[in-house]
C-alpha cells in the first residue's frame, strides 16, 4: 500500500498531466468536428513545436516560451493551408479515410525532416528553473510542470471564450453542427473551416512548447503520443471538446496512479485498455459524442 503522501503526490501530478493532455487532445477534437478528419500529424506538429522551442533556447539563448510568438501564428497559417490546400480537395465520399492517410504522410515527412535537420539525438531544454520545485501540502511540484499546466489552462480558457463569445466562434460552431444550414445563413463555411483548422494547429504549437519544458525529445517521439491522444478522443466521444477534456483528466490521473504499482511503461497501457474497453462497451464514447460510430 503506497503511503498517503505518495498517493497525494501522484494525484497532483496526474491532474497536471491530464490538463496538458486536454490541451493536446482539444486540437484533434476540433479537426474531427470541422472536417470529420482524424489528424494523425497532430502529434508530429507537437514535436515540431517542441523542437522549435528547444532550438530557440539552445541557439538563441532565450526562454522557450518566447518561441510561441513565432510558432503560434506559423502553425495557424500551416493549418489553414493544410485544410484549404489538401483536405478540402479530397473526394467527399472517401474524405475520412484518405484524410487519415494524407495526415499520416505529413507526419512521416515531419519526422524525417526533423531527423535530417537535428539528427536522432535526444534533446532536452536546459532551463534555469528546470529543476526548481516547491512544496504543496507535502507534495513536491516541479515548476516546469506547473508552467505547462498553466499554459494549457490559459489556452483552453482562451479557446472556450473564442468559441462561445466571438462571432468567429459562433460561425465555427455552426459549421461544426450543420454545415449546409450554416451556409444558408450566410456563413462562409470554407473560410471558417480553414481558420478552425488553423486554430487546432495553433493549440499544437502551445502544447508542444509546454511539452518541451519537461521532456526529452527526439524525432520519432510523436508515435509515443499519438496513441494516448487518440485513446482520449475516442473515450471522450469523437468531436466532443468537453468529453475530450474529461477523458484527458481521467486518463492522466489513472496513468499517474497506476505508475506506483506498475511502473511507467506498463502504466501507458491504461490508454489502450480504455480505448478497447470503450469500443467494446460504448463505441460512441463515454461523454456525449454521437458521431463516432459512423466515422
Amino acid at each position: 500500500m503506497p503511503s498517503g503522501g505518495l498517493l497525494f503526490q501522484s494525484i497532483i501530478l496526474g491532474l497536471l498531466l491530464g490538463g496538458l493532455y486536454a490541451l493536446l487532445a482539444a486540437g484533434l477534437t476540433l479537426y474531427f468536428g470541422i472536417m470529420r478528419v482524424v489528424m494523425i500529424a497532430h502529434s508530429a506538429f507537437l514535436i515540431l513545436a517542441a523542437y522549435l522551442a528547444w532550438w530557440t533556447n539552445d541557439r538563441l539563448g532565450i526562454d522557450p516560451l518566447l518561441s510561441l510568438v513565432v510558432t503560434v501564428p506559423l502553425f495557424f497559417g500551416a493549418g489553414v493551408l493544410l485544410q484549404r490546400g489538401l483536405l478540402s480537395r479530397l473526394r467527399p465520399a472517401t474524405l475520412t479515410m484518405m484524410s487519415v492517410l494524407i495526415t499520416f504522410a505529413i507526419a512521416l515527412m515531419i519526422e524525417g525532416l526533423l531527423g535530417y535537420a537535428f539528427t536522432g539525438t535526444q534533446r532536452r531544454i536546459q532551463l534555469g528553473y528546470g529543476t526548481a520545485s516547491f512544496e504543496l501540502f507535502g507534495a513536491r511540484v516541479a515548476v516546469v510542470k506547473l508552467i505547462a499546466f498553466g499554459l494549457a489552462a490559459v489556452s483552453l480558457a482562451a479557446l472556450y471564450t473564442l468559441m462561445k463569445r466571438t462571432q468567429f466562434g459562433w460561425a465555427l460552431r455552426a459549421t461544426i453542427q450543420h454545415r449546409d444550414a450554416a451556409r444558408l445563413v450566410g456563413i462562409d463555411t470554407e473560410r471558417t473551416a480553414g481558420f478552425g483548422f488553423g486554430l487546432g494547429l495553433a493549440t499544437a504549437a502551445v502544447g508542444g512548447t509546454a511539452l518541451s519544458l519537461d521532456t526529452t525529445i527526439y524525432p520519432s517521439l510523436h508515435w509515443h503520443w499519438i496513441g494516448p491522444l487518440m485513446a482520449i478522443i475516442v473515450v471522450g466521444g469523437l468531436g466532443s471538446v468537453p468529453g475530450a477534456a474529461a477523458a484527458a483528466l481521467l486518463l492522466g490521473l489513472a496513468q499517474s496512479l497506476l505508475q506506483i504499482p506498475m511502473g511507467a511503461t506498463w502504466a501507458q497501457t491504461v490508454f489502450y485498455v480504455a480505448l478497447f474497453a470503450t469500443l467494446a462497451v460504448r463505441p460512441q464514447g463515454f461523454f456525449g459524442g454521437r458521431l463516432a460510430q459512423r466515422f
Partner: protein, 347 residues
C-alpha cells in the same frame, strides 16, 4: 463468350507471367543479395495482398497489419524456441493462433467505422510494441529473439532460393483465395459494405459477421508472411516487427497498385518494395526515406486514390476512344461525382 475471354486475359495472363517470373527469378538473379531482395519484395507482395482482403473488399483501411505480421513472426519464433515445435508446424500453429486472436481484435475494431477503425489499428501496433519491449523475459525485449533456421545445413544462397519459392507459393495461394472471394456471394456482400454499409445492412447482409470473417482470413495470411519472415531472417526485434511504418508501407503498396484489383497490391509491392531496397542502398539509414515515403503516399492519395492499374486502364480506354458498354464496377464516389456533374450541366 467475350466476357470469358476478357477475364482470362485480365486474370490468367498476369497469373502466368507471375508464375513464370517466380520460377525463373532465382536462376536469373546475379547474386545472393539480389535474390534476398527478391524475397523481401515477395514478402511485401504477400502482406499487401493479405491486406487487400480487408482494404479492397470492405474499404476499411488498416494501418495495423504490420502488427499482425509481427505477431505471426513472434508466435512462430516462440513456438520453436520455447515449445520446441518443428519450424513449419510452428508456422502453421502461429497462423492459427493469430487468426484466433484476430477475432476479439476485429470484434472491438470493426464495431466502429472509418477513422475510428484506423485509430484502433494504429493503437494495436503501439500497444504490441509496448508489450513486446517490456515483457523481455518471454520475448527477449530489445535484445531480440533469435529464431533457429529451418534448414540448418543449407548455404545462404540456397536458403534464399528456398524461401523465395515458399513465399511465391504463399503469394499464389493468397491471390487464388482473393480471386475466389471476389466472385462469391460473400465477396459481393463485402463489396456492398464498402459502397454503402447502411444500405447493405438494411438489405439483410450480415455485415458484421462478413467483416469479421474476412478480417480473420486477412490476419491468417499476414501472420503466415510474418512467420516465414521470422524463419528466413532468423532474428526479431520489437522495434521493427511492431512498427507503424510497416503498416503504412503495406497501405501505400496496395493503394498505389489499386485496391479493387487482384494484382494491384502485387504491382504496388514490386514498385515500392524495389524502391525501398534501392533507397536503402543509396541513402543508407538517413531519415530521408521517411520523407520520400510520406511524399509518395501523399501524391498517391491526392492524385491516384484508385491506384495505378485503374488509372492506366482508364488512360488506355481514353486513347482507344471507345466506351465500354458492359456493366462495370462503379464506386459510390464515382456515382456521386457523375450525379454532381449532371446537375451542374442541368442548371
Amino acid at each position: 463468350m467475350r466476357n470469358g475471354s476478357k477475364s482470362l486475359l485480365s486474370y490468367g495472363l498476369p497469373a502466368l507471367v507471375l508464375v513464370v517470373a517466380i520460377a525463373l527469378f532465382p536462376s536469373l538473379a546475379p547474386n545472393p543479395y539480389v535474390l534476398s531482395s527478391g524475397v523481401i519484395v515477395l514478402n511485401w507482395a504477400v502482406l499487401a495482398t493479405a491486406w487487400n482482403f480487408v482494404g479492397g473488399f470492405t474499404g476499411y483501411i488498416s494501418l495495423g497489419h504490420g502488427a499482425l505480421a509481427g505477431l505471426g513472426g513472434y508466435a512462430t519464433g516462440l513456438l520453436i524456441v520455447k515449445a520446441g515445435l518443428p519450424s513449419f508446424v510452428a508456422l502453421a500453429v502461429a497462423a492459427l493462433l493469430v487468426a484466433a486472436l484476430a477475432v476479439p481484435i476485429g470484434f472491438a475494431a470493426l464495431r466502429v467505422r472509418g477513422a475510428s477503425f484506423v485509430i484502433v489499428s494504429i493503437a494495436l501496433v503501439l500497444i504490441l510494441l509496448l508489450v513486446f519491449q517490456s515483457w523481455s523475459s518471454v520475448t527477449g525485449g530489445s535484445r531480440g529473439l533469435v529464431v533457429p533456421r529451418p534448414f540448418p545445413g543449407m548455404l545462404r544462397p540456397d536458403h534464399h532460393r528456398a524461401f523465395f519459392f515458399l513465399y511465391g507459393g504463399l503469394l499464389l495461394l493468397a491471390l487464388g483465395t482473393w480471386w475466389l472471394l471476389d466472385r462469391s456471394r460473400f465477396g459481393m456482400g463485402l463489396k456492398a459494405v464498402r459502397e454503402d454499409e447502411d444500405k447493405a445492412e438494411a438489405l439483410g447482409t450480415p455485415t458484421f459477421a462478413y467483416k469479421l470473417t474476412v478480417f480473420v482470413v486477412s490476419a491468417a495470411f499476414t501472420a503466415l508472411a510474418g512467420g516465414l519472415y521470422a524463419l528466413w531472417f532468423g532474428d526479431l526485434d520489437p522495434v521493427f516487427q511492431f512498427s507503424v511504418l510497416t503498416g503504412s508501407y503495406i497501405v501505400l503498396m496496395a493503394l498505389l497498385g489499386g485496391v479493387r484489383n487482384l494484382y494491384g497490391p502485387v504491382l504496388g509491392a514490386i514498385i515500392v518494395g524495389v524502391a525501398l531496397e534501392y533507397f536503402k542502398v543509396e541513402f543508407g539509414n538517413t531519415p530521408l526515406h521517411l520523407v520520400t515515403t510520406g511524399l509518395l503516399l501523399g501524391l498517391v492519395v491526392m492524385f491516384m486514390p484508385d491506384g495505378v492499374i485503374p488509372s492506366l486502364t482508364a488512360l488506355v480506354k481514353r486513347l482507344r476512344n471507345r466506351e465500354d458498354s458492359s456493366i462495370r464496377e462503379v464506386t459510390a464516389a464515382d456515382l456521386a461525382e457523375q450525379r454532381r456533374e449532371r446537375e451542374a450541366a442541368k442548371s
